[in-house]
């Protein structure tokens, strides 16, 4: 059995089958959760390309699947990434029990993660652009559920994400020319420009970010959070693969400077806009923009330092974005809108979720003692060595996000307690919900634990082994 069959074809097929399930119960969610957990466990426990003996039965997970003459390869070095991706998917599915993003969520999330993994597996890897575009298209029914009027945000999201495809595919063709004649400056410049445009669309880098806040006002926060976590994460891994593969990119300092500048601009603008938002959905979108900016900054640091920082940031950010999306989704179910002015009673009724949201925003801003702080510190140190101006921009962005968190905290603490209505039972708050308690404690302890002891997840740093050239 090949790894791509297991981690790409199987989830896509299972997800497609789950879409056929018509009853309105949680069976697909349980099935998807089970499958995702099993795939995580297999990725964690079973080495790829090694013959394994189970009693009298021997089997092997081969790394390559050939489809229409091209390879889909997921080797031993990517096993940890598979574990991370499917663990993340498992948590997103777990969160669906309380957030209720829609009946199609289990099936479509499996298909989307299968497509994301296919994007990371396909050789030549520039074809990944097509698979990422397909994943975005697949996600549309969750962004606009049946019975809802679609807004302009979803239209713009589709258009911008599809625009990335021609740029990246054409780059692939130009890159073969660049490899043959690396001294041809004109060719290198054209390839670089196409590549920059393609990834700007894919990573929603300024000024191509506008679909995120627009969409955030129209759609379920959890469905949007899923897309805004997986898409930039996989796209930035795709970008890392590209830099790893081509010497002219890897050894060109200008590439890393552009990445640092683009990332810092994303952090600055995301943070500045976040501080001005009164709608929590839009705030989530700008927080994601800051998170993506941070990933770009980490890659822009270059060499092994950048690579280590990238993965040190990716993991806690994943944890925070998941929790933030889940909290917003639950709050959205108890309030007419996510406008801060109308959110007060829901925040008072759900103090644990309110606290988690505030802590999540503080963590993304890089507040000490919280998960992503160690990675932020590495980025700030690296930025300081290269450009003080970029460091200042980055810190201003973080301050903006911090201000957004403080504003949410103020909205929560200053909201009047909901008055009990005569004759109506008291609404069930967070404190009476054991699932919310469990979520809150596990999430908080993990975030704080990772912030205090960054070596806690040191084994995960083996993810850098996927990029041996960059690591040198």
């Amino acid at each position: 059995m090949s790894s791509a069959l297991l981690w790409v074809v199987l989830p896509i097929a299972a997800g497609a089958l789950m879409l056929l399930y018509r009853r309105k119960d949680d069976t697909p969610l349980y099935l998807a959760l089970g499958l995702s957990a099993v795939l995580t466990w297999i990725a964690w426990q079973f080495p790829i390309d090694v013959v394994l003996q189970l009693g009298s039965v021997s089997f092997e997970i081969t790394p390559t699947l050939v489809v229409l003459g091209r390879n889909f390869t997921l080797g031993e070095t990517q096993r940890l990434l598979l574990t991370f991706m499917y663990a993340a998917q498992t948590f997103w599915l777990l969160g669906a029990f309380i957030t209720r993003p829609g009946r199609l969520f289990p099936g479509l999330s499996l298909i989307a993660v299968g497509l994301f993994m296919a994007a990371l597996a396909v050789q030549p890897f520039l074809y990944a652009a097509l698979l990422l575009a397909a994943a975005v298209l697949v996600w549309v029914p969750l962004l606009v559920p049946a019975g809802r009027q679609p807004g302009r945000g979803v239209q713009r999201a589709i258009v911008f994400n599809l625009f990335a495809v021609p740029f990246i595919l054409f780059t692939g063709w130009l890159l073969t020319g660049v490899e043959a004649t690396p001294g041809n400056f004109g060719l290198v410049l054209r390839a670089g420009l196409l590549l920059a445009l393609g990834f700007s669309f894919l990573l929603a880098v300024f000024p191509f970010h506008s679909w995120m806040p627009m969409l955030a006002q129209e759609t379920h926060p959890y469905a949007l959070g899923f897309l805004m976590f997986f898409l930039p994460s996989v796209s930035s891994l795709f970008l890392l693969s590209l830099i790893e593969r081509y010497v002219w990119l890897r050894e060109n300092p200008a590439v890393f400077q552009v990445l640092l500048a683009a990332g810092s601009l994303g952090v600055l603008l995301g943070g500045a806009w976040a501080s001005q938002q009164r709608h929590l959905g839009r705030l989530l979108a700008f927080a994601c923009m800051v998170a993506t900016g941070g990933l770009l900054q980490a890659i822009g640091l270059g060499d092994a330092t950048g690579l280590h920082t990238f993965f040190a940031l990716l993991l806690p950010q994943a944890w925070v974005l998941w929790a933030l999306s889940a909290c917003l989704a639950v709050l959205a179910r108890h309030t007419p809108s996510l406008q801060l002015e109308e959110l007060g009673p829901a925040l008072r009724q759900h103090p644990l979720l309110a606290f988690t949201s505030v802590a999540g925003l503080f963590a993304l801003a890089g507040l000490p003692l919280l998960g992503p702080f160690a990675a932020h510190l590495a980025i700030w140190s690296g930025l300081g060595l290269q450009s003080v101006a970029l460091l200042v921009l980055s810190l201003l962005g973080s301050l903006g996000l911090l201000a957004a968190g403080l504003r949410l905290l103020y909205a929560w603490l200053s909201a009047p307690a909901p008055a009990p209505q005569r004759g109506e039972p008291q609404a069930r708050g967070d404190f009476a919900n054991p699932y919310i308690w469990a979520f809150f404690i596990i999430w908080g302890v993990t975030l704080l634990g990772y912030g205090l002891l960054p070596s806690f997840l040191a084994p995960v740093q083996r993810l850098v082994l996927m990029f041996p050239q960059l690591l040198q």
């Binding site: 097509l130 397909a134 697949v138 599809l162 063709w173």
Partner: protein, 196 residues
């Protein structure tokens, strides 16, 4: 492809793309999209064997059919009156600018790339430019989908000259069909029964 045939096909491509950009009736727009794929197919033929190139034609026709059938089941919306003539004039002007740009850029692109001929460069760039205009100047998912399909048809004419992978052909076909299906879903979503 002879000079006469090449020029003729590019002209036909321009007419269908322009017609889609300016017209108000969705039925004729769908018909123009279907016909546009024939001309695009003829421009892919010099690069690919006909049996592979026909995939693009069939995919395009299926996408056009999906959009047409969806639109057929939706209530007719009368075109906004008053602004129509100026809208058409503006769109034609914008398309004229695209044509001028393409006339200048295509020969240099063909010469520089050495992968596609001048007719493929003209056809591909024209469709990309007019597709972009369609997305930017027309509102609604239906028109956006037409624009995206036109843009991708143009891109595929150029890309076919540099890449003949069966997997990419299949994935591009899937993306084209995906655009049509998603547009179809978005057009009908408000009329579907809500989940809860």
């Amino acid at each position: 492809m002879s000079d006469f045939t090449g020029t003729f096909v590019v002209l036909l491509l321009l007419i269908t793309a322009l017609y889609m950009l300016v017209n108000q009736d969705w039925r004729w727009a769908i018909a123009a999209l279907g016909i546009q794929y024939i001309w695009a197919f003829l421009l892919v033929i010099p690069s690919w064997p006909a049996e592979l190139a026909v995939v693009k034609l069939v995919t395009g026709w299926i996408a056009a059919t999906v959009l047409g059938l969806t639109r057929l089941n939706l209530p007719e919306t009368p075109p906004a009156s008053g602004s129509v003539p100026s809208g058409i004039a503006f769109r034609l002007l914008a398309a004229g600018l695209v044509v001028l740009l393409v006339l200048g850029a295509a020969p240099r692109l063909a010469e520089w790339s050495r992968a596609f001929d001048i007719y493929q460069a003209w056809g591909g760039l024209l469709l990309i430019g007019i597709g972009l205009m369609q997305i930017a100047l027309r509102s609604g998912f239906f028109r956006s989908a037409l624009g995206l399909l036109t843009l991708f048809a143009g891109f595929e004419i150029l890309y076919a000259a540099v890449e003949a992978s069966t997997l990419v052909t299949g994935l591009l076909a899937a993306v084209n069909l995906g655009i049509a299906l998603v547009a179809s879903y978005l057009l009908t979503a408000p009329t579907l029964e809500a989940e809860e």
